[in-house]
Every structure is written in C-alpha cells, then in structure tokens.
Symmetry: C2
Subunit: 233 residues, 2 copies
DNA sequence: CTATCTTATCAAACATTGTTCGATAACCGA
DNA sequence: TCGGTTATCGAACAATGTTTGATAAGATAG
C-alpha cells in the first residue's frame, strides 16, 4: 500500500490564517458578489488553505456571517460616533440613520443579516445604544424612548432591505441601464386599468427616474416628524 | 440486461398534482418549520410524487417561493379590502398596516420574500395600490404620495422582519419561555457599565416583558403622525 | 535535548440541497 | 388505432455546509 496514501507534498507549505484575515476575505467575497458568493471553498481558496481550517475559527456559516456583519458594523459605528454632537438630537438621529443607510446600500447583504441577527451585542448593541442616547435628550418616557430607537432602526433597515434588493442580472450586466429598467415597469403600469389602479397612475411618473435615497429620506423624515411631535419640541 | 432496469411497479400509481395543491403544500411546509423546511424532496413526499414533477409547475425554487408568497398574499389582500372605508384615510392606513403586520407575524417567512420580491405585480401590486389609494384622499403631492405608501410598507415589513426573527431553539422547544428569554437579555444589559450604556439601562425595564405588537404600533404611529402633519390635517 | 500537550491545518468523505435528463405513462383529438 | 401534447418520475449531477481523522508546527515541561 505504500504510495497509495498521498505523501506530504514537500513544496507545499501549510497556510497560516488569523481571525482578522478570515473575516476580511469573507467580507471581500460578500462585497464582490453577495451572499451566495461566500462559500467555504471560495474562502479557503482566497486564504490559500484548506476548507476545514475555517472551522477552527468559526463553528458554522451562520457564525461566520454574524462575525462578518459585526466586523463591518465596527466601521459604521466609528463613522457614526464621529458625527454626533449637534444641538438638535433629531438632527443627530438623522445623520446616524443616513450613515447606517449608506453603509447598507453599499453592502446590501448587511440588511439581511442585520435582521437575522438575534444577538443584540457587540457592535450591534453599541449602535443601538448610540441611537438610543439621542432619545435621552428628548422629553419622552422610557417606553417612548425604547419604541423610538427601535422604530428608527426598523425604518433604516426595512427601507434599505426593500430598496437594496438585487436588481435582475440584465441590470447588473450593464446591458440594461437602471433608468431603462424603471421605464419598463413604468410602461407596464401605464397599461393598467385607471379605474382599478388610480394610485399607480398617480405615481408612475414619480417612480420613473426616482432616487432610492430620496425615498428613504422621505420615509425617515415622517418618523422623525412624528417623534418631534411626540417630544413636544 | 433484462431485470436490471427497475420494471414498472404495478401497485404504484402515478401521482396527479395541480398548481393549487403544490402551492398549498409548499405554504404548509413553510408554516410548519420556516424556509429551510421547504425542500423539493419534502414537498414531493407530501404530494406523493416524484421530485422532478414539481419542475413542471415551477421553473426554480425562487419561482416556487414567489408563487407561494403571492398565494398567501391573496388572502391578506381580501382581508384588507374588507376593512377599508373609514372616514379618516389615516385610520384606514393603520388598519391595513396592522393586518399586513399580523399576517407576517404568523408567517415570518413572508417578510424575507416580501423584500426579495422584485416583481411588483400580482397581489403584491394590488396591495401597494390599496395602500396608495388612501394617500389619494390626503392633501399631498404625487411625490409625497409615492413616498408615503412606500414608507408605510417599509415600516411594516421592516418591523415585522426585525421582530419576527426566529427565536433560538430553546425558546421554540418550550424549554425556555419567552419571558425567561427576554429576562436573560435584560440581565446581561443590567451588567453593562451605566456610564457607557445609559440608554440600555434606561430601557431595560421596558424591554423586559415588552410586547412586539406594541412596539410595532408605536413605530407605525410615528410615521402616521408625520404623515398627518405633512397633509396638514 | 526529548517528550508531551496544545494549537492549527488539511484532504477526504458525507449528507443534503437544487436542478437536469431521459424515459414513459396517461390522456385526447383525428 | 395512431400521433402528439401533457404530465410524471427515477436516477444522476454539481454544489454546498459539515465532520472525521490524521498530522504538522509550536510551546512547555522534565
């Protein structure tokens, strides 16, 4: 049986990872092609090692995604902390929400794992704390503060997830521009029965060529206006 | 080679499906154990047929999920249409949002595929239209109406997805009650440094034993208040 | 220096998944 | 009876997350 077993390849060296490297490469894969691109084999290839090695650092793919999420959330958090300090706590809340929103737009995979993330700890917890601290400057009850902070996070994540859904491949390939894509939907809606779909006809012109960021800002503003009203300011 | 090939089993009859049956069983599987429970093999087993047969009705799992989502959305839509007609359009909006929210709470898998659903048509389109029609009764610009309807959907789906995330297995198994589960988080937060986490200490009592529905209603009310303000009513 | 334990790596196998292929039954109009 | 469309199904395929057992490399103790 000698020779059957694969003898130690002399030229081949053992790879040496680190948690930092694993997370960095994982995030890179996620950024390049989204969630399905992050496979253990692709990640192992990037790290120049074997597949099973990754399991020394994380116990499962879920944990890998949790850690990757927390990893990038660290950057978002420092960006947010550097921008607080306005006179108006509502202005601060707006800035924080926008910063988080922008981060999710750049990394659409964040939204999905922001929700699936039951562990309110680490940077996720700190982010929640930062937003909540602004509500401490408003004249609210503890319960209202609890609801306000949660509502703002929901608005950001909900809108970002809704708008950040992957466009169909023909848009990603660049064969069809975004405007053209929106135009196709607009065209379809214009063909609907005006009696049955008066609203779609009302907004189809607005939809065509709309900006996602404006849509988010408008929704955020509604929540902030309600909050300001509630605080009696 | 005669005999090698599996000869037609005489007692075994061919199964006969239908699109309706496929979707019904698919929804049943999703309801019982969420998204991962819906596999083509499990579905085929329920239908008493072969795996490949399902591919005559749907081209992929994505399409299966889209159709299943649209299927249950039909029921939500009729429930919503039966409840409109209040004097105050904002009251109607609230009822519609709550109805949709309740449907997602019962079926947490809906939230995920509500967002991934790029095809704004079918019942999804009708639902959007129903919500939008209420904004027609408010004194708003077309753009404001477009943003308002989108914001409400985002609030509902975002909050439902956030709150409807699957609790850990120990809660599902019933070995640990929900109150006990919340209590464990509360305990952890109480151990945080009060100087660094003043907000968490402020709301930990509210969090313990809170109701998800109340949390949603509070967030929704903020958006509706902002909307009412914008409409100048 | 040697022995031993811990840390870290890896190839290979395993189970499960979505999907495709080719065959073939069941029905139906001519 | 024939031919074509509709519908079903077993078997195989490729890709995935995960486990196993072996083993190298480094640190630590004797």
């Amino acid at each position: 049986m000698a020779g059957t077993r694969s003898r130690p390849p002399e030229g081949r060296r053992r790879a040496s990872h680190s948690m930092e490297a694993v997370l960095t490469e994982a995030v890179a894969l996620l950024d390049e092609a989204g969630e399905p691109a992050l496979t253990f084999r692709a990640l192992a290839g990037r790290l120049g090692g074997g597949v099973a090695s990754i399991y020394w650092y994380v116990a499962s793919k879920d944990e890998l995604l949790d850690r990757a999420t927390d990893h990038v959330l660290g950057g978002v958090l420092t960006a947010i902390e550097a921008q607080t300090g306005s006179e108006d706590p509502i202005d601060d809340l707006r800035v924080m929400a926008v910063t988080l929103f922008d981060a999710i737009v750049v990394r659409p995979w964040l939204a999905a794992y922001f929700m699936r993330n039951t562990d309110l700890q680490g940077n996720s917890l700190r982010l929640y704390e930062q937003i909540g601290q602004q509500t401490l400057r408003l004249d609210l009850t503890p319960r209202q503060r609890f609801h306000a902070a949660s509502a703002i996070i929901s608005v950001v994540v909900g809108t970002a997830a809704d708008l950040g859904q992957e466009p169909p491949p023909e848009v990603l390939d660049g064969t069809v521009g975004r405007d053209e894509y929106l135009g196709q939907w607009a065209e379809r809606w214009r063909g609907l029965d005006p009696g049955e779909f008066p609203f779609m006809h009302e907004i189809v012109d607005e939809f065509e060529g709309h900006d996602d960021k404006d849509q988010f800002l408008a929704g955020l503003e509604l929540t902030l206006a309600g909050l300001r009203l509630q605080a009696g300011a």
